[in-house]
Amino acid sequence: MEYASLYWDFVKIKLKSIVEYPGAFWAETFAKFMGFASQFIVTFLLVYRFETLAGWTAYEILLFVSINITAYSLAGFFMFNPFAMLSMHIQQGTFDEMLTKPLNPFFYLCGKGFLYGYIGNLIASIGTMIIAIVNLDFNTTFYNMMMLIVFIIGGALIHCALFMFFNIPAFWIIKSDALITLKWSLDDFARYPLNIYNKFIQFFLIIIVPISFINFFPVAFLLGKDNIGFNPNLALLTPVIGIMLTVLGYKFFFFAVKHYSSTGS
């Protein structure tokens, strides 16, 4: 509880900078909105001309991509800055400073790194999600909406875990740029449905790096799709996998800190 109010204090400081530089804030929000909206439009056009992509219609694909970006953005608020900057903190020795604070270093890292720059992404992705839902045969019952929210939170947790697992190795290898580039590639896979890939890649995206639980199974579940070669009920694992991976990531962080020797700079 104490941590919650402290985190809110960190967030408040960041939000104050919006008030101070409103121009920069709106420019960034608009730029990111355009960036993601254009991707959604192109993905829609891609499927629209061909009517179906491996059994998915254009609006179904819109729901599919928008859930992924919503989950990614939610994770990005809390995790992008702390972990994308981790390798820099370690290189420059500023991470050592965090260990001296009378706080949980994981918490301090995350609090300090809160980023409001994902609002543009969120507006674009939630807007797209609404457009998709309105145009789909989607029952907006209380149960369905609750499940949608649960899936998004589960997906956000999986994205959080990905941020952690791909950046924490910086404690050992210092320059982890290559790993981060690999992570972008994985995000590319999540932009299209799992059933367009071969068995090997499907196995990889379900078991090794379970990104198909972020949007593929959830959307299949919500739309009751049975023509995609997988049981949509697998989606129920999404929140479980999200929580498990995040806890593992947290443990991994402390394991890394324990074995960390400063760069001495």
Binding site: E28, G35, S38, T181
Partner: protein, 272 residues
């Protein structure tokens, strides 16, 4: 007179070499970059194969192997054309180094272009060439059947480089006001995503959106050169495209002059 031009060219070639070398130092990242670019092409090939599997093989006059060649050609063309000119200019504007550029007897725009060319030539040799070779072994490659396609493709590609770097240069100049090229880059990139044909070629666009793309310059950077390469436009169509590239170059150069005029003023006011 002849010697003077020779020296100038030598100077810019030096810029190209330096940037080529500085990129080459990060050899460790090379393999990973080939891998990730290949993944991207691989994903797109999967997407197009899945899309075509429900059709009778030809959509809007394009078959799957032509489409897969398009995907590979996008990698080639974007690497040649998309020079990071704005990043170079904005970086110098932000740090104030640009004040030196004003008194140097060299052209800021050309420095930025040759610096970018150095980076991108390295990318062509080390990243794109292997991907195109591997890609064409897996998915095949449709070569131009008539000589004019190849010749006009090269002309259109050359024009695309000049056009695009002029646009990037204008974007970079705006950093004289905003101190960053981040926002304008994202916004222009979103137009590139929609109208340059990097993901979806304009053949497949619905009429109204195709009309918008037709009146904007973005399709001349990526889509139209490949359109010529694949022979989807005839001889006169190809000439039309190149004429339109010249028209757009004229328009962009006018805008550049205008922006440059004001950019210089802003810098003077700030004192560098």
């Amino acid at each position: 007179m002849y010697n003077k031009y020779k020296d100038v060219i030598k100077l810019y070639i030096e810029f190209l070499k330096k940037s080529f070398q500085s990129q080459f130092i990060y050899r460790a990242n090379t393999l990973i970059r080939i891998f990730t670019s290949f993944i991207f092409v691989f994903i797109m090939a999967n997407v197009w194969t899945a899309l075509y599997s429900t059709t009778d093989g030809i959509v809007d006059g394009i078959n799957l192997s032509e489409m897969l060649t398009y995907v590979l050609m996008v990698e080639v063309v974007r690497t040649v054309v998309l020079l990071p000119v704005s990043r170079y200019v904005a970086g110098r504007a932000k740090t104030g180094i640009v004040s030196i550029d004003f008194i140097r007897p060299i052209n800021l725009k050309l420095c930025a272009i040759f610096n970018g060319l150095g980076e991108n030539m390295l990318s062509i040799v080390f990243f794109v060439a292997p991907i195109v070779v591997i890609g064409s072994l897996i998915w095949g490659f449709v070569f131009p059947s008539r000589p004019f396609q190849m010749i006009f493709f090269i002309i259109a590609l050359f024009m695309a480089v000049i056009l695009y770097s002029t646009m990037e240069y204008i974007m970079g100049l705006t950093a004289f006001w905003t101190k960053t090229d981040f926002h304008i880059n994202w916004i222009v990139n979103s137009f590139m995503t929609m109208f340059a044909g990097m993901t979806v070629p304009l053949w497949f666009y619905p009429k109204p959106i195709k009309l918008v793309a037709d009146v904007l310059p973005f399709k001349y950077f990526i889509f139209e050169p490949i359109n010529i390469f694949l022979g989807k436009v005839d001889f006169s169509g190809a000439i039309n495209i190149i004429i339109m590239q010249f028209v757009w170059l004229g328009i962009l150069l006018l805008i550049e002059r205008f922006v440059w005029h004001f950019a210089q003023r802003v810098v003077t006011i700030q004192g560098g």
